[in-house]
């Protein structure tokens, strides 16, 4: 799976240093954890990809989501935006082996307010979940220009 950014966005991405913030934290068995990431004042983000990983306390890698048993990790994100950009609620990602331990290119998704991510663990043990984002930061007005017309 790959994504080709529109040319204006690609130019902007090349000018900016892409950042890869990473979050690692435990998700107890049978729990969902929701976290929120907010850009600095006057700035916004464009997300172009993610990387997911999960390990048990003994360091072993978790298996991909199993639809037969309903066991695994499930990820969902909301990209909240100021008007006129629309807030985008993403589809649910069941983290099968196709999604774990590799870069997932997708989007681009703008965030001008906050990114909210929920990870649900239906495995029987605590999972130390790792979520890396591929993102570049831009002034709010520049994001509004780049994504003009996608709001309504």
């Amino acid at each position: 799976m790959s994504v080709i950014l529109p040319i204006e966005l690609l130019k902007e991405a090349f000018k900016q240093a892409q950042q890869m913030p990473q979050l690692v934290g435990p998700v107890p068995p049978g729990y969902s954890v929701t976290g929120r990431l907010e850009p600095p004042s006057g700035m916004g983000w464009v997300f172009t990809g993610f990387m997911f990983g999960g390990h048990l306390a003994d360091g072993s890698s978790i298996p991909g989501y199993n639809f037969a048993t309903g066991k695994g990790l499930v990820w969902k994100a909301t990209y909240a935006n100021v008007q006129p950009l629309r807030t985008f609620v993403d589809r649910t990602f069941y983290l099968t082996s196709d999604y774990l331990y590799q870069q997932i290119f997708y989007g681009p998704r703008p965030v001008t307010k906050f990114l909210e991510v929920t990870i649900t663990n239906t495995l029987d043990q605590t999972v130390y979940f790792s979520n890396t984002a591929f993102v570049f930061e831009l002034p709010l007005d520049r994001i509004m220009e780049l994504f003009a017309g996608e709001g309504r």
Partner: protein, 36 residues
Amino acid sequence: MDVDERRAEEFVRRNLVFSGDRVGTFSIVRVERVKT
């Protein structure tokens, strides 16, 4: 939020690491039990 959920949230907060402090502000919104 019940006692178990409060404990779970405390556990998550204590053990969470975020590498992007210069990028933005991260906060935990909620920790909830789900049906498995």
